[in-house]
């Protein structure tokens, strides 16, 4: 439903987006990740027709965003970064404006507002000026605006940024509930969000896609993928470390001492090896006083750091 081909955007000497190719299908929730300034927002602005690409093209539901802007914008729901809204209006007035602009009339306007308000739990603040609302409610006004016309494509720039855990949870639930009939792109800094709601994660860095896969696939690239951690008294740590190293399938073992006096041993597997059963059997036969034992699926932040660059290096390079 979203087709992006060789999308590029330069601002003077700075290339913000450098040739992105991406296809998003119905039912996909794509998590768009990347460091600040990687080009996430710029890409979203081009998908929604706010910015014109320097080269390349975007098509949404078959409509070319540059040449068939209105048709494309009709099928897109967009939550811009920071969820901007007219602060002197109440959510009811604001959503009424959006509904009218989107071509609804009379009873339809009311029905649309009601549906969007119910989904975003806005009814309590419907008649208070948006300026006086808390950040969480403001964000939900932005969400309500984006889903008002039940769009086939949803583009959300950091929908949960600045929300408390309860609010994050309800936004995620909402996105999940809608995900079946839509194509959704969500940009975020929160890696746990990707694991929670996304069917696919794309990491961009310096305007390029550096990783693209399901969260599981990305996790598999992590050093901690299938690593097993064992927590036991420091006295037993050295023997345990040696025994763990001797296990087949273990590539290396790392040891850290925790503040509570226990030692933490992490065994990293050789490619493809599964360690958890071996390690637990070993712990039982050796009668270690194991306090904790767990295997990890992997760490997204590790993958994120491995494929992206730091902002200082990025700033230097982008000015060539």
């Amino acid at each position: 439903m979203i087709e992006i081909e060789k999308l590029t955007k330069s601002f003077g000497p700075i290339t913000a987006v450098a040739g992105i190719d991406l296809k998003v299908e119905k039912g996909e929730v794509l998590g768009f990740l990347g460091p600040n300034g990687a080009g996430k927002s710029t890409t979203m602005k081009m998908i929604t027709g706010f910015l014109a690409p320097s080269s390349g093209r975007v098509a949404v539901c078959g409509y070319d965003v540059e040449n068939q802007t209105l048709q494309a914008q009709r099928v897109i729901g967009y939550l811009p970064e920071g969820a901007p809204a007219y602060g002197d209006m109440t959510p009811r007035q604001f959503l009424g404006f959006i509904a009218e602009v989107r071509g609804y009339k009379g009873a339809d306007v009311k029905a649309r507002i009601e549906a969007a308000v119910a989904k975003t739990e806005l009814d309590a603040v419907l008649d208070q000026p948006i300026d006086t609302l808390s950040k969480g409610f403001k964000r939900r006004v932005g969400l309500a605006q984006a889903i008002l016309h039940d769009p086939a494509v949803l583009i959300m720039d950091e929908p949960t940024d600045g929300l408390d855990p309860n609010q994050k949870h309800s936004v995620r639930k909402l996105l999940q509930a809608m995900s079946k009939e839509k194509a959704i792109i969500v940009s975020t800094h929160l890696l746990e969000e990707v694991e929670a709601i996304c069917t696919r994660a794309v990491i961009i860095d310096r305007g390029r896609i550096v990783a693209d896969g399901t969260p599981g696939e990305l996790l598999a690239r992590s050093r901690h993928h299938n690593a097993v951690t064992l927590v036991l008294p420091t006295a037993q740590a050295d023997i345990a470390k040696a025994k763990l190293k001797a296990l087949t399938g273990v590539a290396s073992v790392e040891q850290t001492v925790r503040a509570d006096g226990f030692a933490e041993l992490t065994a990293f597997p050789k490619a493809g090896a599964l360690l958890i059963e071996l390690v637990s059997a070993l712990a039982v036969s050796e009668k270690w006083d194991v306090k904790e034992l767990y295997a990890e699926a992997g760490r997204l932040d590790e993958v994120f750091r491995a494929v992206t660059t730091h902002d200082a290096a990025r700033a230097r390079e982008s000015r060539t």
Partner: protein
Amino acid sequence: MNYVWPIFKREFAAYFATPLAYVFIVIFLFAMGAFTFYIGHFYENGVADLSVFFGFHPWLYLFLVPAISMRLWAEERRSGTMELLLTLPVPLWATVAGKFLAAWAFTAVALALTFPIWITVNFLGSPDNGVIFASYIGSLLMAGGYLAIGACISASTGNQVIAFVVSVVVCFLFTISGAPLVLDVFRSWAPLALVNAISSFSFLTHFTAISAGVIDLRDVIFFFSLIALFLTANVVIIDLKKTG
């Protein structure tokens, strides 16, 4: 029109949602009254017409209209709603037209609220009401001209103060382009045709012509084409900013 209406409605209501509208209207009416009675000596003149009153309009608009127009786009840029507005399925021309018409309608309201002076002058004597009506039309057209200029300038900056100052200067030049202050700069070197062209851009000349009581089609066309020109420039400027 389907596109323009919701934009117009929201924008127009926005004026009255903040103190802006009331402050503006009060100052506008107060200034009109003060200028007419104290500086223009409306009573002492002993003439039952409103030429004194309308004579101050260009100079009041010069400062008050940029105060309205400066926020038109600069405010949307600052608050981020620009991104929202321009990603809604509305053609850019309709957004530009809707915002401009709302601002124009608002100045029309302010202008209409000066009606007591029309009543007063009818009470005091028997003025030529046709002339007064024509002057009101001329004043409204002139306000539209100033607004279009201000809207266009507001679109090119995110800073309201800059938008205000630049608008005042540009509006000033348009107001007096028929006066020696401007023309002398060109007379020494420019061909006569250019000097005449510049002088024909003068708001004062066209407004004075209308407020003499004759709504000449050429003056009306002047204001409408000026508005169209600046609104087109407005669309182009916003479109250019899209390209970054």
